[in-house]
Amino acid sequence: MYVADFRADAAAQPANPMAATLADFKKRVDGFLTVHKAAVDKVGALDLTKSPKEIADRETALGEALRAARKDARQGDILTLQIGKVFRGIIRKEFARRSRLALKNREEAQDELPAFTPTVNQIYPTTYPLATFPPALLKELPELPKPIEYRLVRQNLILRDSEANLIVDVLPNAAPPTNALGE
């Protein structure tokens, strides 16, 4: 079972706590990727097509396959308490380095998002835009394999499967509140 495997893996940790946390994160992400690949095997790969229906149907099917495979997934399965602590530190430190204008940009990108609270296994609302992810922050966070990506939804950091448009995990209070930006 996907979730149970992660919990078992977390028991074996190397000596350096930061390296151990990042190694644990990688292992958990790789675990999700295995589930993603199995779901792709089930629904089939998507080739270039002139048919928007084919694209939409495949996105829906992949999302459903992933949700079924991860029906017991819970917030924090990948972005664990320990990983969350490290990521919050990275994000807040990086935000603190930004200029007022850069912080204003981030606030405005978030303003385009209607208020919604992301949850694990939720399809990212298809009519909402995606806030641009700060390139400087992407340099600081561990790289993610395709099709997983980071996104900020207000203060929440989410891991999103971009092929399935599925929210894989959520780290709440990862970023400073927008009304605190630029102060």
């Binding site: 939409a56 204008l101 940009n105 298809t126 641009t132 992407l138 092929e163």
Partner: protein, 299 residues
């Protein structure tokens, strides 16, 4: 609308009216073997303004037979059901599609990334890509998610682009006088590469208006995010603004011939709102603003 903005919007209208007298004529030279293309952004509303702008594009294509189009992102707003692709893209541009005009889309913040699989957008299953037309090399970037891998790829591609015109396009503007302002972090990440590898011109959308920026570090920047959506009166003229139009929808026609790039920006009603000639960066001897045969708006 604040009074300053109202006045500015009025100034734009007046300026456009002045230009409108000469506005119906094609200002592009139609040189033999030139590269001809359309630039439009933030198109995917499916509303009447998109259709009217598309009809105007078609009219101008009779005078300026471009063979491909750049789409600057937000290709589909809101839902992306199969019928939305029809309403917001296939139907308004049907005549162009039927005539084999090649659309080359970039992804905007309203676009589902699975658009990369939609053949008519020519993204070839990638969020970012490069393609060549004659002596021009185009770099399509995903400004929504500028990860280290994309930057590495861009540097490699720019390095290998040789002496071609280098034209980058993506959704979010690095320079703009629109109210929301430029995406400063994008500028920090991309500008050093653009300067180092002699990028000539950058096109962006996102802001729902047209704007031409005075050259920055030798690079020309255009925002054309008003081909269906509009933020009326949104330009606050700054020292960056060479020309702007924020009272109606618009699109750009571009022609590259040798070391010169000719552009003409046209409104939904068919008026020319800006035009000019840019010299290729590599051969430019100074960094003076674009030469403008017509009176540019905001000057």
């Amino acid at each position: 609308m604040p009074q300053r903005r109202r006045l500015l919007a009025l100034a734009v209208v007046v300026a456009v009216s002045v230009v409108a007298g000469i506005a119906q004529d094609l200002q592009l030279p139609l040189k033999s073997n030139s590269i001809r293309f359309l630039v439009m952004g933030d198109t995917g509303t499916g509303d009447s303004e998109q259709y009217e702008t598309a009809a105007q594009i078609l009219k101008w294509r009779q005078k300026f037979p471009f063979t491909f189009a750049l789409m600057l992102g937000d290709n589909l707003y809101g839902s992306e059901r199969p019928q939305d692709f029809v309403k917001k893209f296939e139907r308004p541009y049907r005549a162009l599609l039927d005539d084999k005009v090649e659309f080359n889309a970039a992804l905007g913040n309203h676009d589902d990334q699975n658009q990369i699989y939609y053949k008519p957008f020519n993204l070839d299953g990638k969020r970012y890509r490069t393609f060549k037309k004659g002596a021009a090399r185009f770099f399509v970037l995903d400004s929504n998610y500028l990860d280290p891998e994309q930057l590495k790829w861009l540097e490699k591609e720019l390095e290998g682009a040789g002496s071609d015109w280098k034209i980058a396009y993506f959704h979010h503007p690095m320079y703009t006088s629109a109210t929301r302002g430029p995406v400063i972090e994008l500028r920090a990440a991309l500008e050093p590469l653009f300067v180092k590898y002699n990028v000539d011109v950058v096109f962006s959308g996102h802001e729902h208006l047209y704007e031409r920026i005075y050259p920055q570090k030798g690079i020309y920047y255009f925002t054309e995010g008003g081909s269906a959506k509009l933020r009326a009166g949104d330009i606050t003229k700054t020292s960056l603004t060479a020309a702007g139009f924020d009272t109606d929808r618009s699109f750009m026609l571009v022609e590259i011939a040798g070391d010169e790039l000719f552009f003409q920006t046209i409104s939904r009603k068919g008026a020319t709102i800006d035009n000019g000639i840019l010299a290729r960066r590599k051969v430019r001897t100074d960094l003076s603003p674009a030469r403008n045969p017509a009176t540019p708006v905001h000057q």
